[in-house]
């Protein structure tokens, strides 16, 4: 066990919530994980640009869409949907060179005015993340199973059909890591290497650092992935572009960022993040085949990333561990217990 693993293991065992009673993590109720949440919703008739404002203002990547006339939730709106919407329209439009630096808001305004698309039509556009609901009483074991199939978040509803909150892959991971000491059943898998978990290599969808951002976004959309590795000519990992990075483009409201290179975008995002938080982040978030599952989860939790790239000794990306992969492994544990 490396020093890092030993340190983290000791850390988890010393964490708050220490108890001698062993709990079954699969039996935790979904409702308990969203108890303190303030729900942010988007009106179904709002414009797409207003919906973006809501996401940006609240620092979230998605929000449920509520239709007042139907008195029900009709979907989720997230950055993936936004990008798909813009790309669809950009593909149809020939954006003139002088328009390439216009404000994103104006672009959306223009496209949505000409197309008249309210949010309710734009939501779930990407098709990747359908709107899923669970009850407060639903056990975590079932939710984790859904997460393992690629669903990024579920809406937790009470018996009366009211939404209590959104439970995401990230917040679930955070919960499990904070309470790891209460769930000794999870500890054996934490010490397995990524290789042993079958996560150390796999298809790496990537883009060269010199390719344009717009092309990368189109590639992501076509391949139905939410992230691409940004590589140099030797295949060395330089950084990554994901759908959630779009918020940085939106924040600065410049469509000109669609036409810069992917590496330049990685730099701009890092520069922006560093000033906001007062601390600069490492450009690449990676692990290697020998890293433990537990270390990978700790790093995902600490960096709030949605994936860790698996690199070899030369720094080339050879695989990826996404939150979906993590939950697939955890879900697999339940099946074996049965």
């Amino acid at each position: 066990m490396s020093i890092t693993d030993r340190v983290l293991l000791n850390n988890h065992l010393r964490h708050e919530g220490l108890t001698t009673v062993s709990h079954d993590w699969t039996m935790v109720k979904a409702g308990s994980l969203v108890e303190k949440q303030t729900l942010v919703t988007i009106d179904a008739d709002a414009t797409v640009e207003d919906a973006c404002e809501v996401l940006l203002k609240n620092g979230i990547t998605s929000a449920p869409v509520y239709d007042n006339s139907k008195k029900m939730y009709v979907g989720m709106f997230d950055y993936g949907d936004l990008m798909t919407y813009i790309l669809l329209l950009l593909k149809k439009m020939d954006v003139a060179l002088e328009d390439q630096s216009m404000e994103m808001r104006d672009l959306i305004q223009r496209t949505s005015r000409s197309q008249n698309v309210p949010v309710k039509l734009a939501s779930d556009l990407s098709g990747k993340d359908p709107f899923c609901t669970v009850l407060e009483e639903t056990r975590l074991g079932a939710v984790v199973h859904d997460f393992g199939t690629g669903i990024h978040r579920v809406a937790v509803m009470d018996a009366g059909g009211n939404m209590k909150g959104i439970l995401s892959q990230s917040s679930t991971l955070d919960y499990l890591m904070r309470h790891l000491s209460e769930y000794p059943q999870l500890q054996p898998v934490m010490q397995k290497s990524l290789q042993q978990c079958g996560l150390s290599n796999g298809r790496v969808l990537s883009v060269n650092g010199d390719e344009k951002v717009l092309d990368a976004l189109i590639s992501m959309s076509t391949n139905s992935v939410s992230s691409l590795a940004v590589l140099d000519d030797q295949g060395v990992l330089l950084g990554n572009i994901s759908m959630t990075d779009i918020k940085h483009i939106m924040k600065n409201l410049r469509t000109s960022w669609l036409w810069i290179t992917c590496f330049q975008l990685v730099c701009k995002i890092r520069l922006s993040q560093g000033v906001e938080s007062g601390e600069d982040q490492y450009p690449v978030l990676d692990v290697n085949a020998k890293s433990t599952f537990g270390y990978t989860l700790s790093k995902l939790q600490a960096t709030k990333a949605h994936r860790m790239w698996v690199v070899n000794d030369s720094g080339c990306a050879v695989g990826v561990v996404s939150l979906t992969d993590v939950f697939r492994v955890l879900s697999g544990l339940i099946d074996t217990d049965d």
């Binding site: 490492y282 790093k299 709030k304």
Partner: protein, 355 residues
């Protein structure tokens, strides 16, 4: 007794057994001075050259690529002799991140006193983000070459090839010199910078923080530092870690993706076991310029006022006197820098590496 001294005594018919040890020492000194006289002229010429270079850099003007190469060669010779834990004598003024904010560095010298009148210790992150990373780093390097015992430079996490490619220094070098050569020379120098410093064996200075692989200062001395900053391990941790005042439970992974977070339960034993009274570090923006933690045993010093020309923070320097008394001096951005942020709140044109 040296051969030279013997020859000298021979010339003057002085019997070896009759001469006093002190006199011998004097003779040796005179002989070495005569020998060094020929070097004297070379040294003064070199000093004048350094002085000119410093004057050029102080005006925020660029020196030539050839001069940069030469400066780096000279600097390397000095830095290679330094320890991973460079010993520094008080009094000294400790400074945090500068990040290419050249005019604010000059402000710092106004507030703290010019070098070499004031001794300085800079805790890294000289480059990236600011508009004048090149001038900033070269000035500090020129001062180091001219006054090697009056200024100490230790490595920050931004003194790295990978980081400078993302955060601006590489682009600035390319824009100002037309090629990547200057960037390469500087990155080679980064590899020679010390990892940390210790003032009178009591105040430990490092850019980031502590490492779970390091329990004693001596362990730091065993690191092979002359390489690019690794992605993990002790050397990386020293430059990337952060103290976590909200946590007492030891170590945690850093949200930065490199290094660790360390709590009071890690910092205090480290201080105690190594006979230290303070850990001074930088690495994190502090709006008030400096921040004390863990019962004032760890301090973050941040020396880039109005960071990125827009954060609105003040900067600080830590003055340590010969009795190890500490005083923090706060300063704001210089008028030149303020003008910069007022006229260009959201720059669109070059330098476009800067956000």
């Amino acid at each position: 007794m040296t051969d030279a001294a013997l020859r000298l005594m021979d010339r003057h018919n002085v019997a070896v057994d009759k001469i006093q040890p002190l006199a011998v020492a004097c003779l040796e000194l005179i002989e070495s001075c005569l020998y060094r006289r020929s070097l004297y002229l070379m040294i003064t010429a070199s000093l004048a050259y350094c002085h000119r270079q410093i004057q050029t850099l102080l005006q925020c003007k660029i020196i030539t690529e050839a001069e940069v190469k030469d400066l780096c060669l000279k600097a390397r010779e000095i830095l290679v002799e330094e320890s991973n834990v460079q010993r520094v004598d008080a009094p000294v003024t400790v400074c945090g991140d500068i990040h290419g904010q050249f005019h604010d560095l000059k402000e710092l010298f106004k507030v703290g006193g010019e070098c070499p009148k004031t001794n300085y210790l800079f805790m890294g992150d000289f480059v990236d983000r600011g508009h004048h990373s090149v001038e900033t780093f070269l000035l500090l390097l020129a001062l180091k070459v001219r006054y090697p015992d009056r200024i100490t430079l230790i490595r920050g996490n931004h003194e790295s090839r990978q980081i400078t490619k993302v955060y601006g220094f590489y682009d600035e070098c390319f824009q100002k010199f037309g090629s990547a050569n200057v960037w390469r020379y500087c990155c080679e120098i980064f590899d020679y910078l010390s990892l940390s410093a210790i003032i009178d064996d009591r105040i430990f200075c490092v850019h980031g923080g502590l490492s779970p692989s390091i329990n004693t200062i001596d362990q730091i001395r065993t690191i092979d530092r002359m390489q690019e900053v690794p992605h993990n391990g002790a050397m990386c941790d020293l430059l990337w870690s952060d103290p976590d005042p909200d946590s007492c439970t030891g170590w945690g992974l850093s949200p930065r993706g490199a290094g660790f977070l360390f709590g009071e339960s890690v910092a205090k034993p480290f201080l105690h076991n190594n006979g230290l009274e303070l850990i001074a570090r930088a690495h994190q923006l502090v709006m008030e310029g400096y921040k004390l933690m863990f019962d004032e045993q760890v301090v973050t010093v941040w020396s880039a006022p109005n960071y990125c020309y827009r954060c609105g923070n003040v900067a600080a320097i830590l003055e340590v006197d010969s009795n190890l008394n500490r005083e923090y001096r706060i300063f704001k951005d210089s008028d030149r820098s303020s003008m910069n942020s007022r006229t260009n709140p959201q720059r669109e044109g070059p330098p476009d590496y800067f956000l």
